[in-house]
Symmetry: C2
Subunit: 195 residues, 2 copies
DNA sequence: GTCTATACCGCGATAGAC
DNA sequence: GTCTATCGCGGTATAGAC
């Protein structure tokens, strides 16, 4: 085993548990068992279960934000930028299914402030579409709802993966299935946006 | 107060609690308080908390199924049928936000059999699209992924409503906002399917 | 930094009076 | 059919030894 700080191991295991079982469904025993220490030892690193969750959520949103920011670079035109963001998002969600599920669980909660935390990214996306619509590159339409549909189509495939397995009677995460999903999403947006 | 059987009142309150707080986050005390009885009295009607949940989920899927079945009637052509199903689904989800949220919570769970329960409806939808694609009415494409995107776009707006409120800094459930959302979804599908 | 021990609470479920 | 009382379990969190 590598010498990873215990605090990091705890956060990694907590992310897994919260993604799989949700906040209420996860006990400190679950996390401690995964780390290989006793329950009270967790609370040497974090003040409470809630503090662990808040840190996990914060890290998840930060990772996501970094990913989004890193793909805005470059002097790409509208179509290239759209494809780039779609592909980078798709890839990030594929590589971080735990983050997707934690975010979706959070989105289902009524008192979450997730929406406010993501608003800057949302507004940026809306502004991008409206700019390209005004420029005539994209067909004019309801940009806010377009972004919401993108969010829904991208995230749902990964958050509801185990349900999809039942629907399709097949593994939705094979390389082939993932490739088909991505081609579909890109084509879906192209069809909606072509003038 | 009307004379609704206590069993029905329990199921209605349980539906609300499970939608808002999930299975783990709901205690029998929560449900009992909403009904206006004590916790042990619940277990006079149901054997366990799990039995209550199973019944709520079953009723929800039955209501949904009835809605879907009722809109398949009529000798409509492909476009009319598509619009009809989209509108009926949208309206059903709007009127039954609790069902949407329970289903989405269930979809996030790994050991759920929800996917298998919905497979007949899924296959029916896929078959419909493939038939109309073969007939040349709809543009040929990946029908299964199209249905998944429809599921995602329709449900997410209602399941993640409180997050949308934060994203938009506005109420996503006003008549105007709902109308705009529906117009967007219909147009999104039209663009994807026009030959 | 991790442990054992423990305090304390809320949970689901049962027993039995009314 | 609803209640009070209670059981046993597992939860979070704390105290203090090593």
């Amino acid at each position: 085993m590598r010498d990873v700080p215990t605090r990091e191991v705890i956060l990694r295991e907590a992310q897994l548990c919260f993604a799989r079982q949700g906040f209420e469904g996860t006990s400190l025993n679950d996390i401690a068992a995964g780390v290989g220490i006793r329950r009270p030892s967790l609370l040497h690193y974090f003040a409470s279960k809630d503090a662990i969750y808040q840190q996990v959520l914060l890290d998840a949103l930060e990772d996501w934000g970094k990913q989004v920011d890193s793909t805005r670079i470059g002097d790409l035109d509208g179509w290239e930028l759209l494809d780039g963001v779609l592909e980078a998002s798709f890839d990030f969600f594929r590589r971080n299914p735990e983050i997707v599920r934690i975010v979706r669980r959070e989105a289902l909660s009524e008192q979450s402030t997730l929406g406010e935390a993501l608003r800057p990214y949302f507004l940026q996306a809306v502004a991008f579409f409206e700019r390209e619509m005004a420029a005539g590159l994209f067909r004019t339409q309801d940009a806010a709802n377009l972004v919401v549909s993108g969010y829904a189509s991208l995230l749902t495939y990964f958050s509801d993966g185990s349900m999809l397995r039942g629907l399709l009677d097949d593994d939705p995460f094979t390389p082939n299935a993932l490739e088909r999903r991505f081609v579909h999403i890109r084509q879906f947006f192209r069809a909606a946006l072509e003038p």
